[in-house]
Symmetry: C2
Subunit: 449 residues, 2 copies
């Protein structure tokens, strides 16, 4: 057994930083057997030294000067847990240029700058690892780069945001409205004070960009990922989904036929028999399909102090093993292809559409005709319920009052697999029709190939 | 990008061997970008050369002489897919002694000889990888050794035999008897002609031995794993389980509190809300609990030509990367602890017990008294149904005919967490009681800690 000591610096002592500190401590006695070296935490970089000193047993490690770290030759691994794309990016770049390996949980930075940073790491013979940036504790990046490397993957889809999965689970299991479920998520600490990045799908989009890049060996940036959140999902949608044997999940989708990539985040109807349908509450999961592996799924905690630290320290151990064996950058950037990301209008999907229309003879036939004219093949079109408008406000799309006396009906349409651009044009046409009172919802329906 | 060529030999061209041949071919153009080297298949060892030659495009690679391989200095990686513990063991030993790295899917051999072979690999500076030996395509070994290495794991439990999971799924979803479901599994190719190793849990036991050794860093051999199969499970048991909000799965259980290990295979009642409960048909899954990661689960195909080959070639790629970077044996044996495996009588569990007794006043109280005398704490004891014995044969445990006029009742007992030794003694005592007609079933109930 080697007796090498490897110096480590921790940048940031927030939730994940403190978790990483704790996990490094918990592994102190055994790590030498696992990795052939002893890790020595030499610095913890923070902004507020006093507040940080109260959290750790060795206040002498606390510093607010990054120079202490970059100038310490004994620091071989820098663990960046500050987050964001400003100072974190500067620190990571400086560390790599100084030949220090980097482990980070920074999804913002990796999603927007994955390629440049991986190249920089390679130039400097360094490891840059970021398992914790996608789906927290769940091993995703390592399996994609190693165990599943002998596949041509066609699909990687995931529930990669715990906040929205918790909200949708409460809406499904307890019949809550979106706002009520969000309030509960906030109260329980699953949602941040400003939940926008979560509920609008931006957080998931960052993870999709990272996953798609690795799964399809071609760089996908977060700007390539079209994003739709869950704020418009209603209990009615969930009830209709259940009638169809489905639940609604916010899905991060990455799909490739080998010539191009589809990457987007959107709520989707998922059949109950699909493994992702059983992933509830704040759990995350990533489902993979490949030419050899067939289907596989990884699930677990997508966030949290110790779960995220599990992934961070797993990476740190891997870097340390590489140092011991002199093989850093053993697995560097795997984006050796240059596949275009499809425009969203060219993506194909099935759709669930719910429209409120005036209830009169011929309205179903008119809708069916609109779809036909736009090359949108319809699988089912069903009149679900009728009701008398209880005040004029219900009559949202016709202002002239000519049809006030007609009751409303809800029409549910399930399309076949259609081109999004065609579908959107058909919906626009329906929206503009005189008898249309409201487009209630429009949700993709997952279909396995 | 390196232009190194690495010679590979394939031992065996059965289902997994042929799958591996196909996956290596499918990856031929891209592998150099993934691993920095080109793999060159140089030999395929088989017993029947003619039959094998018909399966491949390069019949000149076929040989029936292992010497061709061991004497070929260009062969750096030997892929052993013969199976069994006789010639396969000799070939692996010879390969390692000759400094050739080994990838194998041989669960029999790894389960019985993991320690010795890992030591031999290390002595010779070789990699010995076996991801495919546990749960087929699903990455389990690599995540346990890498991504989850920063954990103290307390539990690794899995559905690691697809045949029995398929049978139990048919029994649950279609109300089949065991024999009927087995016949269907055989017809569909999920069960072998002699299904003993599957249905009696021996195949799962091998995988548990491997998983437990790696999860708890302490060698567990297959002889340490007490094994119980599913042949006695009846549709009645499944119905009762459903009433309790559970399903019945054949679970490979590895549990440790850090001072000892519990390792066994047994059918268990699993709550429907547990992720393993949703793993149906021939799918496998491994559920992990650790101090940092919390809960995680990996699921996918546990067998099959291409899925198993996905894991085999994933390992081959990893070995090749190590060769390119000069760091073989980077992760060698991780069994640095020596924990005892608990005797089964000392294992603690909850139990579901179903007994047929003569239906008379006081019988519940008598059973409760037997449990109390054996320190078995009972959670529920319920009289489920009564029926008149339709012939004398029903009266299995009392031969003297004195209670023939009494009808039968079924009693269902759910215990608290109790010591298996105490429970078995209580059951023996109940079995010997005059009023007991039959111990219908006795199944563990999974309880999270």
């Amino acid at each position: 057994m080697e007796n090498r000591t490897i110096g480590v610096a921790l940048l940031g002592l927030g939730t994940v930083g403190l978790g990483t500190y704790k996990v490094l401590k918990a592994q102190r006695e055994e790590m030498v057997y696992k990795i052939g070296a002893q890790l020595e935490l030499r610095w913890i970089l923070v902004r507020n030294k006093e507040r940080a000193a109260a959290k750790v047993d060795e206040p002498e490690l606390i510093t607010d000067r990054f120079e202490d770290i970059i100038n310490d030759d004994k620091v071989e691994i820098v663990i960046e847990l500050i987050g964001g794309t400003t100072s974190a990016a500067d620190y990571i770049e400086a560390a790599l240029k100084a030949g220090k390996h980097v482990v980070t949980a920074n999804k913002d930075l990796i999603a927007s700058d994955h390629g440049r940073l991986m190249d920089l790491a390679k130039e400097n013979g360094c490891d840059l690892m970021f398992e914790a940036a996608v789906a927290g504790a769940i091993p995703v990046i390592t399996p994609l780069k190693q165990s599943l490397a002998a596949n041509h993957l066609s699909e990687v889809m995931g529930i990669v945001n715990g906040t929205t999965n918790y909200i949708l689970t409460r809406m499904e299991q307890d019949g809550m409205e979106f706002g009520e479920a969000l309030a509960l998520a906030t109260k329980l600490g699953y949602a941040e004070a400003d939940p926008t990045a979560d509920v609008e799908g931006l957080d998931a989009a960052r993870k999709v960009a990272i996953i798609a890049s690795i799964a399809f060996n071609s760089r996908v940036s977060v700007e390539d990922v079209r994003t739709e959140g869950i704020t418009k999902i209603t209990p009615d949608d969930i009830r209709y989904a259940q009638e169809m044997g489905c639940c609604i999940k916010l899905i991060g989708m990455a799909h490739s036929d080998g010539t191009s990539i589809e990457a987007y985040v959107a709520p989707m109807l998922i059949p109950k028999r699909h493994p992702l349908a059983a992933v509830n509450d704040s759990y995350n999961a990533v489902f993979v399909r490949g030419d050899a592996v067939d289907d596989a799924m990884f699930q677990g905690r997508g966030a949290g102090e110790l779960p995220t630290a599990s992934a961070v320290v797993g990476d740190v151990f891997d870097v340390a093993r590489n140092i011991v064996h002199g093989c850093n950058a053993r697995i560097s950037c795997t984006c050796y292809r240059h596949l275009p990301v499809k425009k969203m209008e060219d993506v194909q999907s099935r759709y669930f559409l719910r429209v409120e229309v005036e209830d009169r003879i011929g309205v179903l036939a008119e809708l069916a005709d609109v779809f036909a004219r736009h090359q949108v093949s319809v699988d089912q079109i069903i009149q679900k319920q009728r009701h008398i408008p209880f005040h004029e406000g219900t009559d949202r799309h016709t202002g002239d009052g000519t049809d006030k006396e007609l009751p409303s009906a809800q029409i549910v349409v399930i399309t076949d697999v259609v081109r999004e651009g065609d579908f959107q044009k058909a919906v626009q046409c329906i929206r503009d029709k005189k008898g249309t009172r409201q487009i209630c919802s429009m949700i993709r329906v997952y279909t396995a190939e």
